[in-house]
């Protein structure tokens, strides 16, 4: 499979609105895994929206990089996990994992960033 790259940019304010809105609980449950939500909590226990926004960007970047991932794949099947060395990695499950296997790709890598009002992520599938 040829190298494929996905990139996504998210306005952090949109995530703030989702967290403050009337559909907060469903938003969190349908988009992020419990592990992702916990990883985004600050020292006082509150969810830090810029970190959540970066994870949303990672999911969208994965959809752009992995053929077929934009269809019938729940966002929770594309999970950003901590890799134990201070960085992050992607853990795909369900249909997302099937698509990765079907693509013949051997590796998938992710990088997150956030500054000010934006968060972004890049995903490479090779």
């Amino acid at each position: 499979m040829p190298l494929r790259v996905g990139l996504d940019l998210v306005e952090v304010s949109t995530v703030v609105e989702s967290l403050r809105g009337p559909h907060r609980d469903r938003y969190l449950g349908r988009v992020y895994t419990e592990r992702e939500v916990e990883a985004c909590r600050g020292t006082a226990g509150e969810i830090e929206p810029h970190r959540l926004a970066a994870r949303f960007a990672a999911k969208e970047a994965t959809i752009k990089a992995l053929p077929g991932a934009g269809e019938e794949v729940a966002l929770t099947q594309i999970e950003v996990i901590e890799d134990g060395s201070g960085g992050v990695a992607l853990a795909l499950s369900g249909r997302a994992a099937e698509l990765l296997a079907e693509s013949g790709a051997r590796e998938v890598a992710v990088s997150l960033t956030h500054e000010g009002t934006y968060a972004a992520a890049t995903v490479v599938v090779s």
Partner: protein, 80 residues
């Protein structure tokens, strides 16, 4: 149902245009709905209509217009 769908879109799609000025088959993504906004629309629809879209309906085309959203809701049991 379409009136309630339009209200959800108005509240959550982040469109610059007035949703009530758009035809039922207008492409909401072309009208400015981002991927994150489409997720907000999805969860708002689920809470509003007390349903959950199955994975098979998690497609860009399902949330593309008032018509496509309404059709999907009917398919999962929401009365027209």
């Amino acid at each position: 149902m379409k009136d309630r769908v339009r209200q959800v879109i108005k509240d959550h799609a982040g469109l610059a245009a007035d949703v009530n000025s758009l035809p039922d088959d207008a492409d909401l993504y072309r009208a400015g709905m981002t991927s994150h906004a489409s997720v907000n629309v999805m969860v708002a629809l689920e809470d509003t209509f007390e349903v959950e879209f199955p994975d098979s309906m998690l497609k860009r085309s399902v949330f593309e217009s008032v018509d496509s959203i309404s059709t999907a809701l009917e398919q999962i049991g929401v009365a027209a």
